[in-house]
Amino acid sequence: MRYFVTVEDREYSVEIDGAAMSVDGVPVAAELASLPGTDRRHLRMDDRSVSLFGRLQPDGWLVELEGRGFVVRVEDERARHIRDLASAAAPLETHREVRAPMPGLIVKVEVEVGQEVEQGDGLIVMEAMKMENELRADSSATVREVRVEPGQTVNRDDLLVVLE
């Protein structure tokens, strides 16, 4: 079976056929064992022994190894094919959502609806663990919606501002 594996913005093609395995067409020797009742896994890959954790989450497999955490999306060939058909029919997105990168407190809202912003302009000042962080526009746009106000606490990934 061929799997399409997405890690961050990189996609790998992993082929598993019985005991034989390849990554992007290059054969690899990999074995993965699980400690029953835990998320603990032991990966032996090309003579490197790596202890890791793997847990299924709604958005993919969370794989944690040497302090690095990856949310890995895995699709088999069939799922990939279905998704390709669906996305071809969907309209292009024209708006961008600015979401909270961390839980925290909104200190300041620096923009209002209708305002034009340039790349690098401040949008929102957030405070978490007593440190302020400014969220800035990643390109020039128009502010379509502002969903928060100063003093409000937000969770990670809460929608703050919609740009167009």
Partner: protein
């Protein structure tokens, strides 16, 4: 010696103080907020008192509740740890007024060093060199503009009442000044309840070097050499070591004498740290921290002196009888702060549950940790979770040992600074001791090197996990069957697995 000491803190430092009490034969009383009930400091102490909800203002910062906990348990002294009330002169006064001993310096010394502008004035008086800056706090952005024009950009705005990077802003040009002044004032007000800020000239690439001092009530004041803490991000230290790779014994003696003079100038008693900026052989007084420091273990490991134990002994009236060993410092020590921050996401706070924790052990490794498996890391408190400290005969060996220990550390469930530390241990400038407080800005690709190997491993593991999952659940309707039977997939039962799940 006291019979019972209350530890008015949480996390790794509370556990450190509990341990020091126990080694002195003193009963330790822990206090805890609701989410901290199962923290190591609580479970290790002989007695524990709940003091309120998660909010620090209603628990670890609530002086009345802490004093009541001390009264109800019969504790004779209170150790404040660091952070929270450790540098609050009002707390020190209230503890003494309640007939208890505050394990720390006199309130007057905290007050003198806590007000950074007063501290500067006192140091100038005591002939300790300071960074050029404003004579006192700055009231308005107009005044800030005039002062910055006099000192020359870049300048640094700092909270008069604070430390630890809160209320601090670097300003490169006049255009940024008004906004930075407002932000620093606001942050200082929120963090310290005192919005006053002052200004200093900003040194371009200094090292952060600090001297540990110990003083007793009988008038003995000694220094225990330096720590280098140049690896910082936004003025928060990440890696500390002792000794510094650039300080020779002559400079150490000179800085040590000045640190002792600084401590004496404010009538200091207990453990304290005099921080300096060091650039091109010149050093300037930065501030004095009137408490135990996060990074105190590196000094403990190269001197063999139990600093927290001495804090308690000095507070109990013991005199310092430390013989300063001529061969000291012995070997080299490095500390890495393991914080709940994701170095791949700009060090943003990472929250969640510690699903699993395996702590490094082996020769020369010390773990001062405030977390355990099942612990929920939230946003209420400082993100510091634990400190990993190593000691070895040379700096090179300490780096290798730290890398080994970091690789043994396994924390599941939250992101921490662990991969950042691993990358630093492998980076040539750090290995050669070439660093300044700009180290992180100067090494933007630190975390990208070698990342692809980890991605491939994660990708491979995930593909096998899905294959395994589908094999276990069987092929569901509408989904393609998994090829091969279970005995021929790449996943095999290992001896390890069989040992836990014999079939």
């Amino acid at each position: 010696m006291f019979e019972k000491v209350l530890v008015a803190n949480r996390g790794e430092i509370a556990l450190r103080v509990v341990r020091a009490c126990q080694e002195l034969g003193v009963t330790a009383v822990a206090v805890y907020s609701e989410p901290d009930e199962f923290s190591p400091h609580v479970l290790t102490a002989e007695e524990a008192v709940p003091i309120g909800p998660a909010s620090a203002a209603e628990s670890y910062l609530d002086i009345d509740r802490l004093l009541e906990a001390a009264r109800s348990t019969g504790a004779e002294a209170i150790h404040p740890g660091y952070g929270f009330l450790a540098e609050n002169p009002e707390f020190a006064r209230r503890v003494e007024a309640a007939g208890l001993v505050f394990i720390g310096p006199p309130a007057a010394a905290i007050l003198a060093m806590g007000d950074k502008t007063e501290a500067r004035a006192r140091m100038i008086e005591a002939s300790v060199p300071v960074v050029p800056g404003s004579a006192g706090p700055i009231a308005t952005s107009e005044e800030a503009r005039d002062e910055a024009g006099r000192l020359g950009y870049p300048i640094l705005l700092k909270a008069a009442a604070g430390g630890g990077g809160k209320g601090m802003r670097i300003v490169e040009s006049e255009a940024e000044l008004e906004r930075a002044f407002e932000a620093a004032t606001r942050e200082a007000g929120q963090a310290f309840g005192d919005p006053r800020v002052y200004m200093e000239r900003y040194l371009t690439a200094p090292r952060h070097i600090e001297i540990q001092v110990l003083a007793d009530s009988a008038g003995h004041t000694i220094h225990l050499g330096e720590r280098e803490c140049s690896i910082q991000r936004r003025h928060q230290k990440l890696i500390e070591e002792a000794p510094s790779p650039v300080i020779d014994s002559e400079t150490r003696a000179r800085m040590g004498d000045l640190a002792v003079a600084a401590a004496r100038a404010v009538g200091y008693v207990g453990a304290g740290t005099v921080e300096f900026m060091y650039e091109d052989g010149e050093f300037f007084f930065l501030e004095m921290n009137t408490r135990i420091q996060v990074e105190h273990p590196v000094t403990e490991l190269v001197t063999g002196v139990d600093l927290v134990g001495w804090q308690i002994r000095i507070a109990a009236g013991d005199e310092l009888d430390l013989e300063v060993d001529p061969g000291w410092p012995t070997g080299h020590s490095i500390e890495c702060r393991i914080s709940g921050e994701d170095p791949f996401q700009g060090f943003y706070p990472s929250t969640g549950r510690v699903e699993s924790l395996d702590v490094p052990t082996g020769p020369g490794v010390r773990w001062d940790g405030g977390i355990a498996r099942g612990f929920e890391v939230g946003l209420h408190y400082d993100p510091l979770l634990a400190k990993l400290i190593v000691h070895a005969p040379t700096r090179g060996q300490a780096i290798v040992r730290m890398r080994r220990a970091l690789r043994e550390l396994q924390i599941e469930g939250i992101r921490t600074t662990q991969p950042f530390h691993l990358a630093v241990m492998d980076e040539p400038d750090f290995q050669q001791g070439r660093m300044s407080i700009r180290y992180i800005e100067d090494h933007p690709d630190l975390l990208n090197d070698g990342a692809a190997d980890w991605q491939v491993r994660a990708a491979t593991a995930a593909a096998v996990l899905l294959e395994e999952e589908r094999r276990r659940t069987g092929a569901s309707p509408g989904r393609p069957a998994v090829q091969g039977d279970s005995s021929s997939t790449s996943v095999e039962r290992t001896a390890w697995q069989r040992a836990f799940d014999p079939r």
